[in-house]
Symmetry: C2
Subunit: 331 residues, 2 copies
Amino acid sequence: MTRYDVLGLGNAIVDVLARTDDAFLVAHGLAKGSMRLIEEDEAERLYAAMGPATIVSGGSAANTIVGIASLGGSAAFVGKVKADEVGRHFTHDIGAAGVAFYGAPAGDGAATARSFILVTPDGERTMNTFLGACRDLGPEDVDAEAVRAARIVYMEGYLWDPPAAKQAFRKSVEIAHANGGTVALTLSDSFCVDRYRDEFIGLLRDGSVDLLFANEHELKSLYATADFDTALAALRQENVLAAVTRSGQGSVVVDREATIAVPAYPIEKLVDTTGAGDLYAAGFLFGFARGASRADCARLGAMAASEVIQHMGARPETSLKDLAADNGFAV
Amino acid sequence: MTRYDVLGLGNAIVDVLARTDDAFLVAHGLAKGSMRLIEEDEAERLYAAMGPATIVSGGSAANTIVGIASLGGSAAFVGKVKADEVGRHFTHDIGAAGVAFYGAPAGDGAATARSFILVTPDGERTMNTFLGACRDLGPEDVDAEAVRAARIVYMEGYLWDPPAAKQAFRKSVEIAHANGGTVALTLSDSFCVDRYRDEFIGLLRDGSVDLLFANEHELKSLYATADFDTALAALRQENVLAAVTRSGQGSVVVDREATIAVPAYPIEKLVDTTGAGDLYAAGFLFGFARGASRADCARLGAMAASEVIQHMGARPETSLKDLAADNGFAV
């Protein structure tokens, strides 16, 4: 049976990225750094107003899975696209990246999801996502054999946005745990955490999640506090292993017993933070699947994130496997 | 009446760019650095075989026109797209770049043109173009008022590939010259020159073209010689002003009386040569329209080219107007 290092479940999205300035964000009432959901008419309006765009495949968990493949891991992804030009591009890219894609494109229904991403000169990204076909993702899309074949099942908090995707999440958790697999979750976005705080805390406490990814804003949102140390103390009480990213301040890996801090990787120039958290998760998960130490998992995450923030788009442009070798990792 | 610094006429193409290695080019029998025309079935095959791709608007003359707008020039473009997702993206991007686009999308017929561009680690690009809707470009698409409103009409040799586009070219020449405008032509590609050598030489000798752009390969192909100096000597006999680019060796501006050599701009890292010639033409044409010296036209061209070869894709990612100001140009 095929063994995947990691199988991801998430929203299958194509990114439409354009550079902008802060005035544009203010004029359109966009909260810098966040992800907001938009309907098709707002997508049209925003696209008409934004500058020349680059179209690249995205989707948070999908980016992570592609990163794992780039590191040399075996990876699979479950998501929903429509059989349109955009869906074809998503399908091409994830396949070309070496990922097994479980997601026959829908012949009808809403268009493939797009995220209109505005990148300001400071490299920060502000996302506006039209979920489209992702809204039809449900438990029937989860291939039980594929989930059973994975060491780790990785899912995104964003799955709470479409109506039936959380059932796909729960089905995956059940199958994974019945087969000794690890379940990992990313909290995705602080506004997303705000929408589903109680459910996410529930997932940590009912044993659904073994490994948690969050950035400091999401963690503070989870425990409804403005103080990072308070949030971290609360997190230590949960029965999970957690990796918390803090942008330029690196990351901390915590569980009930220990806290390990790992610095960020040095970079030459910050271009676009899109995918920073996704690629951190990729490096961490790959290391975790291959039995690396927690510190090395975090270092691999930091390394993968450093590659993706130095160019436009949320997927690696170079071989992360080569990059890891160049940086002395032996995984 | 609106005055455009430059109006461009060319194939409206969206680029699908992927990194590859030389072995891939060899395996697919692709001549490195060239542009070849492909049909839809070959486009499908190539897309399926190529790696994850970035989709950005392209088209040689269109890139040049966008570069002129980025330099602060007033610019217009005439081209043909279909009313499909890809055509919509082309239309959005050229409009968002500040260019007046004369090209109502076709409701039926072939799909919007795409060029599948493979970029090797040395930064060289190899293009495979499916012309699609461009094959329907004809003289009826040329807006006479718009051409009359332009100081310079800029056209690409690639227009000889679709069946009726050369008639659009000739119509534009007539209108431009009747109104005191300048007609500029780029030779586009050495294989393209090989296909239409006699016709291109005819355009230089019958007074159709006032200003010629070529790289050294195209110029050698035009005069069917392997020796650059021989080709340059032949060019000096034509009654045109010509700017000839030589990659890292800079460019030479020649007419019957004088030859001016201008060095290439220093760069940090060559990433993707796609658009180098297009952006050189943009800088030169903008300077020319604004009355700059020939040497300054060439320097502006070199500057614009240096920006576009340091990232993926053939259109500027930064304001060329700001870049020109930072580099001490006063145009």
